[in-house]
Each structure stands twice: as structure tokens, then as C-alpha cells.
Symmetry: C2
Subunit: 102 residues, 2 copies
Amino acid sequence: MDIFLKTIGSINDETRIKILNFINQNGEVCVCDIESAFNMIQSRVSRHLKILKEGGFLKVERRGRWAFYSIRTPLDAFRQSILEEIACLGLELPIGESRCRR
Amino acid sequence: MDIFLKTIGSINDETRIKILNFINQNGEVCVCDIESAFNMIQSRVSRHLKILKEGGFLKVERRGRWAFYSIRTPLDAFRQSILEEIACLGLELPIGESRCRR
DNA sequence: CTTATATATCAAGATATATTGATATATAAG
DNA sequence: CTTATATATCAATATATCTTGATATATAAG
């Protein structure tokens, strides 16, 4: 129950739905990518990414100064179906020029 | 987005998850059935059922004094997958003796 | 018609969650 | 070593959600 609630709670927020969809469409992104793509302050982005990670949707890999977030693989069928449902919402994707070198 | 958030928000609550699973396993129930099965006061039950209905999971049919709630049919694949995920949580089902005549 | 029952809704208080600005940590650059 | 950059976390405030008790409505029973 706790894990299920954490998963559902992690997508019970418009900001996180948009961030999750952005990562699902763009692949690996760092915190600053989302910061600039969505024009949000760093602490806010960082917190939402943490919640999505704890919800089981994202993995993070540190390389140098950057933390790269991407969809966790393999992803179970339930979370996969959520990603698909979100992809079908027709959210506008902000154009994300990456500010960090990869 | 609004409909999706309403759907997700409707299951972002332990009480509603249990109620939804109870209805999914037992079929049609009235408000007082849940009241007694879960030992909750009437206004609380009524409110949670309304939220689950607005989340697209339940339909309601009034017969006499009673309001009978059941899983909406046909249910779309996404909400269906949520019900299945909840069914797999292994929640204990309270024994629901119906207090109302059917 | 009056009373009892089932449900819905509202207002107030309690609890949880989101946002912001400040600070901490770690890595890279000069 | 010192400074700048990227990220994480904390404390305070703002906002949303949940619970309860009171009240309203509708139907059935006496």
C-alpha cells in the first residue's frame, strides 16, 4: 500500500506530470535542463525529481557536477501504462536546450 | 490534464483505495454498507464515494432511500489497470453485512 | 401529517503538500 | 587554495485536502 500510494502521490501534481512526460520524451536530462525548459527555480525542480524517483519512475546517475535523470529501466507494466496515459494527454513539450555538456 | 489529475487524485488516499477495492470485490454497495464495514461516519463515506465517482471509477444509482455505488461499466483500460494493481495489494476485505434490503 | 432513515453538503479545524529563499555539499575551473 | 557551478536539503509560509459535527433533502413508515 505504501509503495502504491507513493507512486500515485508522485504523479498527483501537474508540475511533476509535465516533468515526467518531458523526460519520457527527451530521454536523459539534468536538473538544469528542466530548470531552463520550465523556467523553475532549482530547489523546486530538485524536489520534484526526488519525488518522481521515490515514486519509482526515475533513476539518477551522477556524472561530474551533474545529476542525470531518466526513466527507470526496466519499468514495470503499471508505471509504463501511466507514462503512456500521460503521453496521450497532449502536453506541450518545452524546447529543452541542454545547458550542460554531456 | 484536469481529468487525469482528478482520476489520480481520487486514488491518492488510503481510505479511498480500500473503499474502491471493496466495491471492486463485492459489487454493488450502498453508503451504509461501507459505513459499517469500515466503521466510518456517514459524511466521510459519502464524500469519498463522490470523489471516486468524479475520478471516473464509480457509478451511482438511487433506489428508494439508498444510493448504490458500483464500478462504472464499461471501464477504460487505464482505470481497469489501476483496479487490478489495487487488487494485487493484498488488502484485507472487511466483512460487509449489508444493512439495507436490496 | 409526522417521524425515522439514508444520503449529501457545508463550515471549521486538523493535517499534508507545494513553493520559496537560504544554506550545505561536492566537483570543476582558475 | 580559492572561486564558481550543479545539486540537495532545510525552515518558513502558502495552499490544498481530510475529518468531523451540524444541517438539509428526499424517501419510506406509522
